[in-house]
C-alpha cells in the first residue's frame, strides 16, 4: 500500500498472497475464547486491492529465480495458485523489485503431536481460533457439569517465539472461566520456553516504577500469582500425546503434564521458498538461512551471547546477494536471538526466538517501501531508509481479559527492542520508554487498536496517517 501510494501509475505493484481474506491476527485471541467471530477479524482482500490499483494474485510464491532463466534473464518468481478455480496451477511472475513478506510458517511438525491436526489447539490463524473456541465452550460445559479440568497454555517447543500471544490467551481463558463461574474447578498452567516469566523472547525488561526499578519477571509473576495461574518456565515440549504433554526443563529433567485442554503455539520457520540460479541449480542456502528466513544485511557470524551487538541487526533489509530483493517483517532472518540461549545437560536447546511483532514488522515494511521508491526514482542505487530493531521500540498491549468495564490489559513499551548495552549500560534499554502496567485503560487501547488497524488495512481515507 505504501509503494502504491508513493509510486506513479506507470509502475505496477503486485501482491501475491495465498489468502482471500486478510486477518487482524492479534484479535484471534478473542476469537479463540468465543468473544469474536471470524468476520470480526477478517475482510476480503480483492476489493481493497482493486480500489487501490494494486494487482492481486491469490497464490503462494514457491520458487525464486532472481537471475531469470538462460533464455530469459529477467528475474521472476514461480507462484502456485490457491484460489478454488485454479488451485495448484503454476505461473511465472516477473519483477524488478521483490519484497519477501511471507511471515512465519507454523512449524507444528517440529514437535510430534503438536497442533490442531495432533493433540493441541492453536489461535495462530482465524480457523484455528474458531476451532479452539468451540473446544473451550465444551470444556466450560464440562466444568459446569462438575468436572475438574486442567488447561495448559503456552509454547509447544523450546525455540518458540510469540510468548506474548500465549500469555494473552492464558489470561483471556482464565477471565472467561471466571465469568462463567467455573474458575475454582479449573487448573490453568502456563507452559513456556522462557527461562523466566516476562522474558517474551526479548531477554526480559527492567521497569522503572515510581519507587524502584524492578525486573519484568516480578511484574509478570505478580499477574500470574494474582490470577492463580501456575507456570512452568524453561520448558521444551518434546511430544504431545492425547491428554499429556512431555517436556524437558532447563535442568535436563523430563516431566509430563496431563491436560484436558491445551493451546500451545508452534515454533516458526520461513516460508521455505526455493532459490534457483539461471541454470536451475539450487542456491537456496545462499539466499535463505537454514531456518527458511531470508538473509539480509545482518551480521550472521556465529558468536556467543556476550559478544552480541546492536550493530548485528539489519538496517535496510536488502538481500546481500540481490540488491533488488528485500525481506520485511518476520520473513527476514535475524542474526541471532535476543534472549540468552540455553542448553540442557542433554544438549536440548531451550532458546526463545526473537519476536518480530506488529510494530517492527510494519515499520520495516514501510522503510523497505520507501527505499525501493527512492531506488526506482533514481535518487540512489542503494536503500536510503533504515530501521534497525536495535534503534526502534515496540508497543505491545497484551490483553488479560476482555470486558468493557472489568477487562484489563498489560500495556508495555520498550526501547529499543534489541538491548544496546553500549548505549544504555546495565539495562540495555532506555528506561524512560520501557514500561509496563496493567489496567482497563490497556483493554480500551487494545479495542481501539483492533478498530484502527482494520481501518488502516482496508485502506480507508487517511489510512497512511495511522502509524504502525
Amino acid at each position: 500500500m505504501e509503494l502504491r501510494r508513493r509510486l506513479g501509475r506507470e509502475h505496477e505493484v503486485v501482491v501475491v498472497t495465498p489468502n482471500r481474506l486478510w486477518n487482524w491476527i492479534p484479535s484471534n485471541i478473542w476469537v479463540g475464547v468465543g468473544l469474536m467471530t471470524k468476520n470480526d477479524v477478517t475482510f476480503e482482500l480483492g476489493p481493497v486491492y482493486a480500489g487501490l490499483g494494486i494487482r492481486y494474485e491469490q497464490a503462494r510464491a514457491v520458487e525464486l529465480h532472481a537471475d531469470g532463466k538462460t533464455d530469459a534473464p529477467h528475474p521472476f518468481v514461480t507462484i502456485e495458485r490457491t484460489d478454488a478455480e485454479h488451485r495448484g496451477a503454476r505461473e511465472e511472475l516477473e519483477y524488478d523489485y521483490l519484497v519477501n513478506a511471507t511471515g512465519p510458517k507454523l512449524n507444528f511438525g517440529a514437535t510430534p503431536g503438536l497442533g490442531p491436526e495432533g493433540n493441541t489447539l492453536s489461535v495462530c490463524t482465524f480457523d484455528h481460533a474458531v476451532e479452539t473456541a468451540k473446544k473451550l465452550e465444551v470444556a466450560i460445559e464440562r466444568l459446569k457439569g462438575g468436572d475438574r479440568l486442567t488447561f495448559v497454555i503456552g509454547t509447544g517447543h523450546g525455540t518458540c517465539t510469540c510468548q506474548g500471544a500465549a500469555f494473552e490467551y492464558a489470561f483471556n481463558l482464565e477471565f472467561e472461566l471466571r465469568k462463567a463461574g467455573v474458575r475454582e474447578k479449573a487448573r490453568v498452567v502456563f507452559l513456556t520456553n522462557e527461562a523466566e516469566l516476562g522474558d517474551f523472547g526479548v531477554d526480559g525488561m527492567q521497569l522503572r516504577t515510581s519507587s524502584m526499578i524492578i525486573p519484568g519477571k516480578l511484574f509478570a509473576e505478580s499477574l500470574f500469582a494474582e490470577r492463580g495461574v501456575e507456570w512452568v518456565t524453561g520448558a521444551h515440549v518434546q511430544k504431545v500425546e492425547p491428554g499429556v504433554a512431555h517436556y524437558e526443563t532447563l535442568d535436563g529433567e523430563l516431566h509430563t503434564l496431563d491436560f484436558d485442554f491445551a493451546m500451545l503455539l508452534p515454533p516458526f520457520r520461513g516460508a521455505d521458498l526455493v532459490a534457483l540460479d539461471r541454470s536451475g541449480a539450487d542456491i537456496t542456502s545462499e539466499v535463505f538461512a537454514p531456518n527458511g528466513f531470508m538473509k539480509v544485511d545482518a551480521d550472521y557470524a556465529a558468536k556467543p551471547y556476550e559478544e552480541w551487538r546492536a550493530e548485528d541487526w539489519p538496517r535496510t533489509y536488502q538481500s546481500p546477494k540481490y540488491p533488488n530483493i528485500f525481506a520485511a517483517g518476520i520473513a527476514f532472518a535475524p542474526p541471532h536471538a535476543i534472549s540468552r540461549p540455553r542448553k540442557t545437560k542433554n544438549g536440548t536447546m531451550i532458546a526463545p526466538a526473537p519476536p518480530r511483532t506488529g510494530m517492527p514488522s510494519g515499520i520495516i515494511g514501510r522503510t523497505v517501501a520507501r527505499s525501493i521508491v527512492s531506488m526506482i526514482e533514481g535518487a540512489t542505487g542503494a536503500p536510503t531508509h533504515t530501521a534497525s530493531m536495535a534503534t526502534m521500540g515496540a508497543a505491545c498491549v497484551a490483553s488479560a481479559g476482555a470486558s468493557f468495564w472489568s477487562g484489563t490489559a498489560a500495556s508495555m513499551t520498550m526501547f529499543p527492542i534489541v538491548p544496546d548495552y553500549q548505549k544504555y549500560p546495565i539495562y540495555g534499554r532506555d528506561l524512560f520508554y520501557t514500561t509496563a502496567e496493567i489496567g482497563s485503560a490497556g483493554h480500551r487501547i487494545k479495542s481501539i487498536l483492533h478498530t484502527m488497524f482494520l481501518y488502516k488495512a482496508k485502506a480507508k481515507p487517511g489510512w497512511w496517517l495511522i502509524p504502525e
Partner: protein, 52 residues
C-alpha cells in the same frame, strides 16, 4: 517423570502480589481515564522516537 509446576504454594510464597488497592485501581474508571491518557502519550512518544 513427574507432573509438577511452580504450583500455587510457591507462587504465593515467592511472587510479588498486588495489594487489594492496586487491583481496585486497575478497573477504577477515573484513575484508568488518567492512565489511558498517560499510556497513550507515552506510546506516541515511543512511536515518534522509533519512526525517527
Amino acid at each position: 517423570m513427574s507432573d509438577e509446576t511452580n504450583g500455587p504454594t510457591d507462587m504465593v510464597k515467592f511472587a510479588m502480589k498486588p495489594s487489594g488497592f492496586v487491583v481496585f485501581l486497575r478497573t477504577f474508571l477515573p484513575y484508568q481515564v488518567y492512565r489511558f491518557i498517560r499510556v497513550n502519550l507515552r506510546m506516541l512518544a515511543m512511536i515518534w522516537k522509533s519512526h525517527n
